[in-house]
Symmetry: C2
Subunit: 333 residues, 2 copies
């Protein structure tokens, strides 16, 4: 029989649970033995209040793509790498976080943009598709979600409407979608006129997801409350009917921006950079500048789907555009 020390497990990089290791090798004095690497990351959720409303950021994980410049339509690889370096990111790689939010208004439990879907967990080797696991870790059951609120119809925002079984992932939820987005993407004429490639894929994927729930959705209007405490704001450009949401209670408010910017370390700092996924890049830039001018002037906090977890920041103006300033972590509520 081969004798293993805890040191061997460390060298081999095996993720042996601490307790099991201690039991197996209890003849070794604790103070002289290395603990095995503990391995997993802390569960990915973070809670904060806006007035009386409770928000819980539930990360769905982070995708990493090579090359980053393929995500920027109007800049060269060299320019994008300069931007990455300015933000202390490594060259070439694009790190794209996905951060849904669960809002408890006191009357409704609302999940905003439930991520890429559970099916992605296995295919990404745990990098993404974490939403349902982290939702549970945060103390929620998927059956408690009253409303699934969708900002726009790109796959990373709607695929999580469906569970691993291809059915509605939130059995008691009403799915609410922007009227303008629904009107555009579910229109066969628009689909027939859309360019081949990515735009056709967006149309097809939206139909795949919404057909799986029998197109049973509740459209909502920009400029009105979706439900008391959550207002919708039209922020078009990234997609035809893209909406953002403002959660407010008393004097407190937060701007939940969806994809007004893609990752802030490139697209807030350089608002003239166009994300490859912008449907109408000029309109998206105009929307971005308008929203960010307001956020900076009002000193209003923003929650960004593609901001690094917990994706909460303030925004200030810079000569080149805007800069996101991560809000300090609150260690106790």
């Amino acid at each position: 029989m081969t004798t293993l020390s805890r040191r061997d497990f460390v060298v081999a990089g095996l993720a042996v649970p601490v307790a099991a290791s201690l039991t197996s090798f209890s003849n070794m004095p604790d103070a002289d033995a290395a603990a095995p690497l503990a391995g997993p990351q802390v569960p990915g959720w973070y809670r904060y209040k806006v007035g009386d409303i409770e928000l819980t950021v539930i990360t769905d994980g982070t995708s990493r793509f090579r090359f980053a410049d393929t995500h920027v339509a109007n800049k060269t690889r060299e320019e994008v790498n300069t931007g990455l370096a300015a933000a202390f990111y490594p060259p070439d790689m694009m790190a794209t976080p996905y951060n849904p939010v669960v809002v408890n208004t006191g009357a409704k439990l609302v999940a905003i943009d439930p991520g890429v879907g559970e099916a992605a967990y296995a295919s990404s080797k745990g990098a993404t598709g974490q939403f349902q696991t982290n939702l549970k870790a945060a103390g929620f059951d998927r059956g408690q979600i009253d409303i699934v609120l969708i900002s726009h119809f790109h796959g990373d925002h709607i695929n999580g409407i469906l569970g691993a079984d291809g059915k509605l992932a939130f059995p008691n939820a009403e799915v609410m979608v922007p009227t303008a987005e629904w009107t555009y993407f579910m229109d066969d004429g628009e689909m027939s006129r859309a360019p081949a490639g990515r735009m056709q894929d967006v149309f097809k994927n939206a139909r795949r997801v919404f057909d799986a729930i029998g197109r049973k959705v509740t459209p909502y209007e920009a400029g009105k409350d979706v439900t008391p405490g959550i207002a919708a704001v039209a922020t078009p450009g990234h997609s035809a009917g893209h909406n953002s949401h403002i959660v407010s209670s008393g004097k407190d408010a937060i701007y939940i921006q969806a994809d007004v910017t893609h990752v802030p370390y490139l697209f807030a700092r350089n608002p003239g950079w166009h994300a490859f996924y912008d449907q109408d890049a000029a309109l998206a830039e105009a929307t971005r500048r308008k929203v960010y001018d307001m956020l900076a002037a009002e000193r209003m906090p923003v929650q960004g789907f593609h901001y690094p977890f917990p994706s909460l920041a303030h925004v200030e103006r810079t000569p080149a555009g805007y800069r996101e300033i991560a809000m300090p972590w609150n260690t106790a509520l």
Copy 2:
């Protein structure tokens, strides 16, 4: 019998566990009922790698003091409030996070600066004294800690050496202290010459803590490895023998700065501001500028005890001093 709805619990602000609520009120349809506010914050730990070495930031919580300007020796209340506003902090309040780090070098499990101590948990109503609870949540048993590594002798860095019972909180650990700090603070002549008030209190508290463990410590020298993978660096000024630590493995390294700056949003951005607790403010400022010039030039990441959790940042130069840029959260290891 009074009939309560889940809504009543929300209005009353009671922290009823979700599962219990669902059981008790299962006659209410889920889709129309509000979930009770879920309440607690996510456990306060975060894990990352430096080469083969695993680091886990274990927050001890955050203290809040009024007024912030009492923490800055050479600036007016108005100047401090201007600094707070620039960093999007509310006026007057001083938020001071405490963030110990556990380093698994592969051979030793090392806890650096274990915080304010468990006894503070009750007296602060859970705001601080969280280290042991979060250590356990991160998968560690206090008996596994091989080395408690101390940067300097201020109470928020050494009080956690002792448990709630007033004895060594880590039963199998060696306590390692900077030789220069030990020589200064344990010298009766130095104590007799120190000014009354805060400095006398530092001397007394250091003796209280180290006397409780029979002064059984291992002094370590600046400029050498404390243990393979962790080097000590003399960073004097904040206290006589203040040390920082560099964790390195292969080509990766991180600078664990202890109190080279107090909170970065005031003292990194304004390196000429003097924290009220600096023993030799001019020397502390010279050390701070030297370390931060190096961090900025080398683009070396820093882990700061008083940085907001997870207290990991890069540093860049600004016209006024330096700016900390929070490192992006890693959602999977």
